[in-house]
Every structure is written in structure tokens, then in C-alpha cells.
Amino acid sequence: MVAPAALRVVRCGGGTLHGARAVFSADSKQVGLRRGYLLCASGDFVKMYSVSTEETLRLLGGHGDLVTGIQLNPHNHMQLYSSSLDGSIKLWDFMDGITIKTFTVGSKLLALYALASSEDSVFVVIPKSGERDTFQLISVKLTKAPGQDLEAKELSVVLDGVDASPKRIAFGREGEYVASVKDVNLQVYFFKQKQLNRFSVSGAKTKSGNNQFTCVACHPTEDCIATGHADGKIRLWRNFYHKKEYTFSTLHWHHDTVMDLAFSVEGTNLLSGGVESVLVLWRNQSDRQKDFLPRLGSPIEYISMASDGTLCCTVHTDNRITIINSNLRFSRSIQGLIKSADVKTGLVVDPRTKALVLNGEPGHLQFYCLQSDQQLFSLDIVQRQYIHQAGLNQADLVKVAFSAQGKWLATVEEREEVTDPELQLKLWFYDEETQSFKLNTRINMPHEDHITDMCFRDMDELEDDSLILVTAGRDCVFKVWVMVEDTDPEAQQSVSWSCDFVGSYHNYQATNCCFSEDGSLLAVSFEETVTVWDSITWDLKCTFCHPPGKIRNICFGRLTCSKYLIGATDYGFLCCWNLLSCALEWSAHLNVLILQPDPLSEHIAAVSWLSKESSLFVFKPNEPRPIYIQRNLCREKIQLAAFVPRDEPEMIGSEKYLWLRRSQLFFLTDTQELMTLSTKSLEERLTPSSKQLAVEESLPVTPFSLLLGKHRRQQSQGDIDLGKVLVRNKHEQDSPAVKELLHTPAHVLPSASFLCPIFINSLLISKENKSAEEVADEVEMESEKTEDDSDEERDVTEMEQEDTSPTELLGEMTCKLSKSQEKELRKIRKMDYSWISAF
């Protein structure tokens, strides 16, 4: 059983990958095998991917702020330098995932460069003290003193007035000079001569466009600097030793900003990329010979080359990493949660794969696997060529709904037009044969104005013909769509969808719609009013209203609370109506942004936003008091939330977190970082198998290992026959002590005599039944916790009823009934409704 640990917010995906250029690990050099790792800065972490399997192998965490630069240690290819906004440089052993050293610099570090020529110093960009928006390139001497945490004090300024972006500084051939660009100026500093040359291109705004520098790259063997410009030109500078007699040539293909440049290892080819999402290969730096790799999906942010030149990779603005062969062939892409401009679809859970479904690439729907942090697949909804050009309004996906079994998918796409929006409602059928969604019906202009909400009638047990789709639109109506069977037996499609009923209420805009759990009632909110309709006869049954303020969200209660309807209004009220008495049950003053019911339990999560912090409240509709409160969930504003059902109910020790038993709550923030509430940290969540893989993968495949592999496979088959043996093996593997022992590098392990008793103990099979003492301890802890909570978690302001029945609350946990009753009583005694005054 898991000990009751504190619930904490854990990051599990998304965020920004483009803090810095990605770095290939050096052992991609291994002859004949293109195995290696790709290291990439992702938020506060450095992620390590396997190039061959696209898996996330390791997360190097330790920085307190965004990681801004990563570089392999030029003197040891198994080590990595990383810099962060928290002002520290860390040296990692990335194979084992441990920090070797931490150097504290003090001020924010914006970029990091490591050179082979400079023995023990690295270059970083820091803001100039005392001045805003001016930055300088400094070299930091990394002391070789013993100890892990060191202070780097020997700083010397190399260049003044550089740009903060890491793309705008590049070091030349063997570290002889450094080139830096800012606005329309290029500075080249020669280390040996201590000479600084400045060049500039003509005025910022010429007729042809913006002339500003955007990026710079230096030729690895010749004295040549390539610079990219905002108007799409690439300039190649030579002879920059002379202040006057320098020359440059221009390459022009990009129609928009050149985002990044990279020379191949030999320097014969130049790669450039930009908003067009086309990777351009310039051969011999000439304008005539160029190759293209078009349609990479999204604008290219960084280009980086492997040190052996066999691979190159592009990091895109939407967090995708594309790995490209040296002959400019697409090899593979590493994609986690794709960042889209605006997640309009909300977080939806695919009932079939339990994957999170949301906007992906423009016009696509991404299915994101939460367990492996990978994109399962991307479904093309719009099916049109996306033109990567600024200022075009292109069709995008705005609404998504799945039927209960995941058999049907409804999508709405729209294109903003000056006169009237272009809308399409598409219904997709899951084809078992091809294992993908197939377009069944396309409806042009389902509503005359934007569609605000859409839902299927969620009925698990009934057959297909009870399936109903409801769309609510700003054109003041909601429409009911039903499946129509084609009468003609020879027709290709047996079913299609058509409109069955159009409902409206006093010419108000329909904003939300929601079906009750049994599908008998439909709630549609029209601005300030919630209307409840019978889903068979489509009669208006009753209306609810809580003026002032428009309805923002509505949902029905589930299971034992199915008689309640919850609504959140614009003016910060959370209301609960009883559908049997048609009266307001209770209401609370809470500025609710998101209202998300758990599909498997009665619990409803509400996320509020006030005074620059998001708070989470979990409650049951039948009592006005929240079950769980988490203040200050994260720094960013939470945009969306979703409950994802767990495969198997998790054992949760603490009664307070019972609401997390059947499903897990995920959030998406403004910066598109995916977070969840968990008692475990992310490192624990990464499956140990992938770690194992990391070790095994680094071994080259020899004939002997192949032979051994065969042998092992046979053995494992033998194991399956002998079930018992397998179980015991598994048990050994699971033991944390053994895991620790096997996966910790030998040089950091303590002595064998120290480890021996732990190891022996871990082999013993523990008894399942706990002693009475332990249980008592646990209870004590719980009661302590409730006392702690009651300090901050008092109660709701306006309560219409106070009949809280703990029997309902606890369901199957009848053995603890008396204790919980006691607790309830204590809570009620301590009630003073003061927590709400914070708002």
C-alpha cells in the first residue's frame, strides 16, 4: 500500500522545447549503427531522446528556471554543460543522469557556448548589470576545485552589446573569432589579435523589407560567416579581417525570416530554415545548387548537426523534433505534445485509447499518449494544404466530441471570413479494419454562426441508433443531429447524419450544452438561462437562472448525484440546481474558469482564477463543501482540464485524495504545459523499462550479443511456461533496492558490505497484512491532516442545505465510517466560512 504522500503538481509534458539548439550525443559516431541520443532543453529540464526509438529516455532535472543552453563538454563527450535562467551552469553525466558539478554565476544566463580551444572556460550571455535590454558575452572560468557546488567568479567580458538570442552569436573556425549580430550590425572579434571589426547593412526598413539580422553561423574550416535576415536573405561574409575590403554574397530563397542557419561538418553545405517550414540545403554556398525538404509541418526554430554529419535535426516551434538524414531525407520525428497556436478544442479523452485529444498541427487532431509522452497519431481533419505564411486565416479545428465508445467522432472546423465564417461539421466513424477514423458525413454550414459547444448523448449500453449529437451555436439555436439509415440497400454508406430538431429560447445565443448521465435530459444554456429539455420529445421541461451573469459552464452530476445540475456564471457564482424540486440547492461565490466532472465518480473539479493564481476545488454536488482544495496550483493560468480514467483504480491511502482513485486530473496551462496532480514525481513516473533500455542501447550489437539475445528469448519463453518463476523474478525486479543497486554506476555505489543487508532484505517476501500499530499510525496522521486542512479549508458562504451524509460520501469504505463521521462533526464545529473571504 502506498503511504499517504502529499499531492503535488507534476509536469508531464508539453511546455517549450525551444530554449536552445538540440544536441546530438557524440556516440552517434559508432560505426554502422546510427544509435545515439538527442539532448534537448525543455523548460526546466534537459530531455534525452533515443534517436532510433524516438523515446524519452531520461529527464535531467535540477535547474530552477528555464534551461537556455546546452553543449557537450568538448573534452569529454559523455558530459554535458547546461545553463539556465537561474544563473547556474551544470555539468551532467547524461548517461547516468547525474549532476557532476554546479557552477553558480549569479546573473541570468541566456546562452551557453563551449569551445574545444578554451581549456576550462565556457562562454555565456548575461544581461549587463545596471542596464536593461543590453547583454554581454562573457567567458566564465570553471574552477577545478573539488566539491559539487562551486561558485564561478572569474568572469571576463568578451563582447558588449550582443543579442540575447543564442542564435545570434557564433564561434568561428577553431575558436579564432566570434561573430555576433544585433539589429543591422555584425561584430567580429578576433581573440588572438584582440581586434573588433564592425559591419552593418543598410537601413532597417528598405523597400525590399526588413534587413535586420536574425541568425549567424560560422564556417567550420574557412573564414566565412553566414548571416540570416528578416527579409529572407542569407549573406555570406568573407574577408572580414579588413574593415573596409570585406565582401559578401547573397543567397535568397526564403520569403520570410530566416530562423536558423547551420553549416555541415565539412562546411560544403549550408542549411537554412524558416517560417515556410522548408529546410533548404545550399550546396557549395551557391545560389544555383539547392535542395529542399518541404512541408516539415511547422516553422523551423533551430537546426543542429550531429558531429559526424550523418544526421541533422530541426526543432520546430510546435515542439516537434525532426531528424533528417544527410541526403536530406526525412528520417523520423520525435513528437510529444504538439504545441498549437490555440487549443480551441479543449482537452478531450479518447475513450478507446485513453489518449488526450486536442489541436495539434494546424488542421490536425493529435492523439497524445499520456503514459509514454508521445503522440500516438495525428488525424487530418481539414484535409487541405496548409500554407505557412503569416497573416493568412486558414481553417482550424475548434470543437471535438467523441461518442461514449469512441466509435464516432464529431469535429467542427471554421475559417474566419470577413463576411461570414466558413463552418464545417464532420462526423467520423472508427473503422476497425484500418484502425483509424473514416469520414462519414460532412455538413457545410451547420449553423449560421460559430458553434459554441457540442456533445454526444453518452449512453454506454444502448445501441447505435440512440446516438444523438447536439450542437449549440451563436445563431441562437441548438441543433440535434441523428443518424439516418439509408433506405437504399445498394448504397455505399449505410448511415449518414442529418438534422432532426432545432431548438431555441427567446432568441438568446446558445452557449453550452450537456446531456445528463442517462441521456434523458439535455441542458442547454442560453446566455443567462439554463434550459432543460426532454431528449425524446424535445419539450422544454424547465429553466434555471442565476442573474446576473451569463452561464459559462454547465454539467450534470453523476451516479448518486445525478439529480443535480451544476452551472458556473460569469459573475463568479457556482450554482447547483436540484432537478427534482427545480430549485437552487446551493450556490457559492467562486470565479470558476473550468468545470470538469469526473466520468467515473460523483466528483467535479472546478478551477478558479483570481488574483493571479489558479486554485483547484473538488466537490460533490450533493454537498456545498469542497472535498479538496489546492491553492496556487501553478504560476501560469490554467486553460483546460480533463479527467483521464485510470486503467485500474489506484490505491490511495489518504481519504482526502479518494477522488483521484478512479481517474487522474490533467491541466493544460497557458504555455501549453501539461500538468497533473500526483503523489509521485515525474522521474518515478517514467517507466523503469525505458531506463533499462538506455543502458542496453548504448552497447553495440555484436554477433555475440545477437547470439545471447536469442538465448535469452528462449529463456524468457521458458519462463512463461513456469509461471511461478516469472512472478518471483518480477518481484525481484520491482524491489527498489535491487533497482538501485543495478542501475547506479559502480563508482558512486557505497561499499558492498553496506549494501549487502539491504539487498538480502529486499529478497525476502514481505507479509501482506499489516500490523495494528501501522494502521493506528496512519489514522493519526490522517486526523492531523484534517486539522491542518480545516484551517484553510473552512466552508462555503451561502448554504441552502446542510444535510451531508457521510455514508454516501464514503461508499465502500464502511469500516472507517465512524471515524469519518467524527471528522465530519469536527469539521462542522469548526466551520466559520472565512476561507471565501480571500476572494
Binding site: G297, Q383, R384, Q385, Q389, L392, Q394, T487, D488, A491
Partner: protein
């Protein structure tokens, strides 16, 4: 990595009649041949044996027509008054017919004079037919009786006087030689068994029965009378299976197609309706000039013959099936080279190299792929695309608009090209499916070419035509709106009245029945 996605050409479902396999099948007839008869054609019967001649009964004559002959190949005209119901025997050698004077005559197809004459009916005999044993004849007359006759001896075997009105139609079972049915104007259909003295089953149709039909299996019975066609299950004791009301005048004749999958009914409302016998829905319908009295389909549905009240015989022959041998021939050599090794199944140790499938792009797609907007627009303004698939032209225009390059694609064109564009726009802008896009295009063209108005007579004329077309459409829409308004008022008053009417009836407990009637 994504490949180029071709332009989506939106296809719109055609309004009105939907094309199904049935419509394709039933439309596959040539233009009809019209043959003028002497009077109303009351009966048409196909010979069951090749070459499928058919006997047409009209007035006092029976004409035998060959498959493609427009002149009768044989005529039986020894009737003093009208002849009725000339019917072939199963072997196609004998023909029997009733007559107005009450006698039934049996003809040999090779001779002229009747072989036998059966007297016994006191009034006109409108229905006669062979039983399936070939040696007996059943008949029904206006004297309310239905009789059974022995062919060799020309004597009456039995006479049933059970109907209470004229007997006007009948049919013999194909599976049982003793069973036949007759339908009468007394609204009933009776099933007789020659071995019993009275009718075996009586089915109440509800209207004077004009035509009856037994399915080849003998299990289902179809009766037509009034506006209804009803299907009964004989084996279940005459239970009503389905009642069809698709005609708005009396249904006069019924017929099954050769496969038994479709049921045809002809009516005085000038329509022939074709029903599917599985769903009993109308799958197709034919229109004729005048009221239809009789209808027959040749074996294999080769010919549809319809007789009408004004004595016109309408004959439709099926078109010969088209074969596309040519295109196949052309393809053969290439096919042969590619087919080599296609059936080879890769073994486990084989290393499979899949050849990328090369997608063929249309010309405009190729141009759009390389961002050549003007040329792409030129490509879709080529005559075949512009004239026959305007939706492609409009789709490309929309795509250009989406890319923001429509204006530059439209600009910089000479007189001839502007003329072409404006002709297209003026012609298609009124089609609802193109209106949204073409209005934008028209807007842009007027914007771009405003400065040169007046320099070319051709372009000016096109502009005027465009204006005219749009003006007309606006007038038309206004008129439609007016009509809609009128209808709204009518509907409003109508629903109000009905509501009050319903309330009055509520006390009588009749509401429910009215409700159900309304739903029907």
C-alpha cells in the same frame, strides 16, 4: 512528413431524384414505340416462351405482336363485341380470351378459328386464365360467378357463386394446379381450390378489386383496388402484410418483374410505380401520357408494354448493354508487365522494399504546389474544366482566396481573358453552391479593372451582363421571400385553428386517434 494535399473539390448531393441502382436500371430503356389500337387496351400478356410475342386485347380484337414488330403478326378478330383478357398458356401454344357476350374462346396460335368455345356465363367474361396443369381454365364474369372449365371436353367442371358483384380479375397459382384466386367489385378477393365446393379464403380489400397477383412462391398475394395496393400473406390465413398508397387514382394493373424482386403497378393517374418487394418502397416511377389500363413486362425485363385508355400501346425496349472493350485493350500490355511477380508472397527472411506510390496530380494541383497562382487559375479556365466541372474552377478560386493570392491571380489579364472570366462568373454566380466564392471574385474583378472600364466594348458588355444576372437573382429572391411570408401567415392561421379543434375534442377522448391520423 506530409505530402502535398490536393485541392478539395466539394461535391454537392444533387437535389431531387437520387440516383440509385434502380433508377439506372429502369432508365435503361430506349424511347418508347407508340402503336395505335382500335380501343382501350385492357390486357397485355407475354408469351412465356421465346421469342416472347405478346397478345394485346383491345376492343373486339386480339393482336399478337412480335418482339420488335410494330405491326401485329397475327390478329384474332372473330368477336362480335369486346374481347377481354387474352392469356397465353404456359407452353405458349394456346390462347384463351373472354368476351362481352359471355363466351370464352380458346385459340391455337397457329390457327385462326377458335378451337373451343365455353358457354355458360350469362354476362360478359372479363377474366380468364389457365390453371398450371394446362388442361383447365378458370373464368370470372359479370354474372358474379367464377367457373372452372375442362379444356378437352369444353365443359364446366364447377361454378362458384360466392362473389356479390362483378368479378373482374383473377390469377392462378403456379405451384398448385388446383388453386386460383379471383377479385371482385364486392371488395373481396377469394381463393378457390378446385377440389372443394366453396372458396377457401376470403380477403377483404376494402375497395373494388381491379387486379390481383400471386407471387411465384404462392405465399404472397397482391391485390389492387381503389388507390391501394395491398400485399397479403396467404400462408398466414390472409393477413395484411403491407398497404401501399402511392397512386392518387385507381390502380388498374399489377405486374412482377422477371426476378420477382420488383412489383410494378399502373394506375389511372398515368404513373407506373416500381416497388422493391423487400422494403415495399417505391424505387422508381414512370410517367405516361394518359391513364393506364394494362401493363406487362417481358421475361428478363426486356420490354415494358403499357396499354392506355386512349388505345395507345406504349412499348419500351431495353438498351443493349454498353461494353468498354477498347480501354481495356489499351491497357493490356502495361498490365501484363506489372502483374509479373505480383502474386509472390514474401517469405520471412525476405527483405521487403516498398516502392512509393506515385500520386498523379491534376495540372492545377501541380501549379498550386509550386505556388503559381495565375497559371493555376488559367488551367482551370480551360474549356473542358470550365464548362463541365465548374466546381473544380470554383474550388481552385476558393483555394487561391484562402492563400491570399486570388487578387494577384486575377490581375494583369488581357481583354480576352477578362471576357472569359466575366462570362464564367456571370453564368455561375447565381448557382447557390458557387455564390459565396464567385461574389468575392466578382468583387475583386470590378475592383481591379475599374480603371479600364470604357476602354473595351467586350468587357463593358460582360460587366453589364453580370449586373443583369445579379439583378435578376435579387428580384427572384425577393419574390421567393414574399411567397415565404404568405405561406407563413397561412401556416400560422392553420395551426391555430387546429389547436382549438383539438382542444374541443379532448373531452371526447378522440385526441389520440386524431393525433395518429395526423402522423400518418
Amino acid at each position: 512528413m506530409a505530402t502535398y494535399k490536393p485541392v478539395v473539390v466539394q461535391t454537392f448531393p444533387k437535389l431531387g431524384e437520387r440516383i440509385t441502382q434502380d433508377t439506372v436500371y429502369w432508365r435503361g430503356y430506349k424511347t418508347p414505340v407508340q402503336i395505335k389500337e382500335f380501343g382501350a387496351v385492357t390486357k397485355i400478356d407475354f408469351s412465356p416462351v421465346s421469342p416472347y410475342n405478346y397478345a394485346v386485347t383491345a376492343s373486339s380484337r386480339i393482336h399478337i405482336y412480335g418482339r420488335y414488330s410494330q405491326e401485329p403478326i397475327k390478329t384474332f378478330s372473330r368477336f362480335k363485341d369486346a374481347a377481354y383478357c387474352a392469356t397465353y398458356r404456359d407452353d405458349g401454344n394456346l390462347l384463351v380470351a373472354g368476351s362481352e357476350e359471355g363466351s370464352i374462346r380458346l385459340f391455337d396460335l397457329s390457327g385462326r378459328a377458335p378451337l373451343r368455345q365455353f358457354d355458360g356465363h350469362t354476362k360478359a367474361v372479363h377474366v380468364v386464365g389457365f390453371l398450371s396443369d394446362k388442361y383447365r381454365i378458370f373464368s370470372g364474369g359479370d354474372d358474379y360467378s367464377s367457373s372452372l372449365w375442362d379444356v378437352p371436353s369444353a365443359t364446366e367442371i364447377v361454378s362458384y357463386n360466392e362473389h356479390t358483384d362483378y368479378v373482374r380479375c383473377g390469377c392462378a397459382s403456379k405451384v398448385n394446379a388446383d388453386v386460383f384466386i379471383t377479385g371482385s367489385y364486392d371488395h373481396t378477393v377469394k381463393l378457390f381450390d378446385a377440389r372443394t365446393k366453396s372458396s377457401v379464403m376470403t380477403i377483404e380489400h376494402g375497395q373494388p378489386v381491379e387486379s390481383v397477383l400471386l407471387f411465384p412462391s404462392g405465399g404472397l398475394l397482391v391485390s389492387a383496388g381503389g388507390r391501394y395496393v395491398k400485399v397479403w400473406d396467404v400462408l398466414k390465413g390472409g393477413q395484411l402484410l403491407v398497404s401501399l398508397k402511392n397512386h392518387h387514382k385507381t390502380v388498374t394493373c399489377l405486374c412482377l418483374n422477371s426476378s420477382g424482386q420488383r412489383l410494378l403497378s399502373g394506375s389511372l393517374d398515368r404513373h407506373v410505380k416500381i416497388y422493391s418487394t423487400t422494403s415495399y418502397k417505391v424505387v422508381h416511377s414512370f410517367n405516361y401520357a394518359t391513364s393506364i389500363l394494362s401493363l406487362a413486362l417481358s421475361p428478363e425485363d426486356e420490354t415494358i408494354v403499357v396499354g392506355m385508355t386512349n388505345g395507345v400501346l406504349n412499348v419500351k425496349h431495353r438498351k443493349p448493354e454498353e461494353r468498354k472493350e477498347r480501354s481495356e485493350k489499351k491497357r493490356q500490355p502495361a498490365y501484363r508487365t506489372y502483374v509479373k511477380g505480383r502474386t509472390y508472397m514474401p517469405k520471412q527472411e525476405d527483405f521487403c522494399v516498398s516502392k512509393p506510390v506515385k500520386r498523379v496530380l491534376r495540372k492545377y494541383d501541380k501549379l498550386l504546389k509550386s505556388f503559381q497562382s495565375s497559371k493555376a487559375l488559367d488551367a482551370v479556365l480551360e474549356p473542358p474544366i470550365r464548362l463541365y466541372t465548374p466546381e473544380v474552377t470554383v474550388a481552385v478560386m476558393q483555394e487561391l482566396h484562402r492563400r491570399g493570392t486570388l487578387r494577384s491571380a486575377l490581375a494583369g489579364r488581357d481583354e480576352k481573358q477578362i471576357n472569359l472570366l466575366l462570362t464564367f462568373v456571370a453564368r455561375r454566380v447565381i448557382e447557390p453552391r458557387f455564390t459565396a466564392v464567385l461574389v468575392t471574385v466578382a468583387d475583386m474583378i470590378t475592383d481591379i479593372y475599374q480603371p479600364v472600364v470604357g476602354q473595351s466594348a467586350i468587357v463593358d458588355r460582360q460587366f453589364l451582363r453580370l449586373q443583369e444576372a445579379i439583378g435578376k437573382e435579387i428580384d427572384y429572391q425577393e419574390e421567393l421571400l414574399e411567397v415565404l411570408g404568405m405561406m407563413d401567415t397561412l401556416f400560422a392561421t392553420f395551426t391555430k385553428k387546429r389547436a382549438t379543434y383539438l382542444e374541443e375534442n379532448k373531452s371526447n377522448g378522440l385526441t389520440e386517434t386524431i393525433e395518429t391520423n395526423r402522423n400518418n
